[in-house]
Symmetry: C2
Subunit: 342 residues, 2 copies
């Protein structure tokens, strides 16, 4: 039955020490989990019992002060309302929680990057995971004293992990080309985020090798949102029939969702008259009707690995920023793609 010395104040190591009849230092040694600490079994037992009886809970902040660690990490993504990034953060969260670290997520749309960075600093975060921010944050020399791990963004300076974004673009293209499509379109954001650039490059690689041209009339630069996808598709559908694409690769699932919607709204049959391929495989892909053909990028896995990479750096000291192999992606054929019709 837990009993408090004073109900209004949390139990401290001093309280435990008093009750166990030892010094505060001994309590710290026992509860600090340091196995090489020399403490007799009997004393250890007494301390552990006293701690349990008092309901002692260590104050991580106080520990952090002396250890110069906060056991917290920050994560910054461009848009948490994009389920892909939410999944990345979730993956980070899971691994971090397991290791006793807290996660401070930041959505660039909500809080300006610099401000969020300041807040993270003030909280003495031990490390930082950046995803999808491109050169935005990288330009700032302000990350100097921080351990950083990048997701889908190669760098000389910081380690990172990446998905096979090039392969993702290739898979999408091969799928569409294999279905006999020739008049293809591409929709993607104009940002300089590396992963997105690679998806694009992979897509065009395959087209080039297949001898298929994609004139700029069928290239759409739009924000990576549902609304952006709608706009892109709407304008593609406005092309003269002879130039109108029969298939479109959207570099982000949200875009594909918007594109699909534009088609259905306009009475264009999917996949009858228009095939659509997305990329990410967010949950939304299976909610749409027809279900979205897309390339699965394991977002949680990306987050989890990034977190592990960061934590290893934090615990073992310096870790080798060796690039590592990209995480494989996988084409998931569902209902928005079909053979090209004459």
């Amino acid at each position: 039955m837990p009993t408090r010395r004073d109900a209004s104040r949390p139990v401290t190591t001093h309280d435990v020490a008093r009750r166990a009849g030892v010094s505060q230092a001994t309590v710290s040694l026992v509860l600090g989990g340091n196995p090489r600490a020399r403490v007799s079994a009997q004393t250890r037992e007494r301390v552990v019992r006293a701690a349990r009886e008092l309901g002692y809970r260590p104050n991580i902040l106080a520990r952090g002060l002396v250890q110069r660690k906060s056991y917290a990490i920050g994560v910054m993504v461009p848009d948490l309302s994009n389920p892909f990034f939410l999944d990345v953060v979730t993956g980070v969260q899971r691994v971090a929680a397991e290791a006793g670290y807290a996660v401070l997520p930041g959505d660039v749309r909500e809080v300006p990057p610099q401000r969020h960075l300041d807040a993270l600093r003030a909280r003495q975060v031990d490390g930082l995971i950046l995803d999808g921010l491109g050169a935005l944050a990288l330009q700032e020399g302000a990350l100097d004293d921080l351990k950083v791990v990048l997701v889908d963004e190669p760098s000389e300076r910081w380690p990172g992990i990446a998905s096979d974004a090039l392969g993702a673009g290739r898979l999408a293209a091969e799928h569409l080309v294999g279905l006999g499509h020739v008049r293809l379109a591409f929709a993607g954001p104009a940002s300089d985020v590396y992963g997105l650039r690679m998806r694009e490059r992979g897509f065009f690689q395959v087209l080039r090798d297949a001898g298929i041209a994609l004139p700029s009339e069928r290239l759409r630069r739009v924000p990576p949102t549902v609304r952006g996808g709608m706009a892109a598709m709407k304008s593609l559908l406005a092309l003269p029939p002879a130039e109108r694409p029969t298939a479109c690769f959207c570099a982000v699932d949200l875009l594909a969702a918007g594109a699909l919607k534009a088609c259905l709204t306009a009475g264009v049959a999917v996949p009858g008259e228009m095939s659509i391929v997305g990329c990410d495989d967010v949950e939304l892909a299976r909610v749409l009707t027809p279900e979205l053909t897309t390339v699965r990028v394991p977002a949680r896995e990306l987050g989890a690995r990034a977190a592990r990479l960061l934590l290893r750096q934090l615990e073992d000291g310096a870790a080798a920023p060796r690039p590592g192999k990209p995480i494989p992606v996988k084409l998931v054929v569902r209902g928005t793609t079909g053979p090209a019709r004459e």
Copy 2:
């Protein structure tokens, strides 16, 4: 040009004091923002300049240790992948960030509530916001020493803010009844979350007043997910034609999305043969085709108000847990509802 005394260690108040030729206490007085501190303008100036020159950044954790505050709050929701809850958290985040507080979000699916609570405690969070957890967390006497604010869950013990859930259910029902629907169905989770219960109650209130019966064959208890909505609608469509509903109210948008999908998959016209009303108005509602008729519940606003309520409690000491009026909701008629056909 910022210069560090020692590149490897953060700048402290001691460093600033040394450079300004004053004591650490004076630095703290000046930078602590305490306006009633008696410091000469000249000294103040010197300190401020030294701080700027050294690039001083206060260590919130150290401050928290002495002030017994962490300037952090926790938020717990049942499922962050439900955009509604994500929006609530976003609302919290925005207000908290503004006030210099960090937010530690927790998804009950990812991290067991008790574990997350322990983690929040260990980090000395100043307060906690709970949404959609029903009696789950409330049963635990473990929240004793915490300032808590509840969302959509009335309580004698803690203050909270709520949306007009009863009204939401009523609006949905009135809309469907107004369209002439008589054979109605309801789909909702079996959880004892108060807000959901109220949506349900409001819906049935209107039906009763209109003299419309809803037999249990048309009542579906399913998990509040897209999958749950699909299952519910699939089984409703399997009813004999004479009993099959012509409209369905789904207490959560995700359910409605699933229900819509089940209809489209089964070739049932929406809203021709089946009208569907959701509740929440998450972003997804406008992505679907046809767009979802739903009741808008201002999730961000809920989160923002909850955060303000909590922060006021934290800053001004004890605040009155007066209930306050529920936040109004609004019917948004879109494409999934239409008049009942003979």
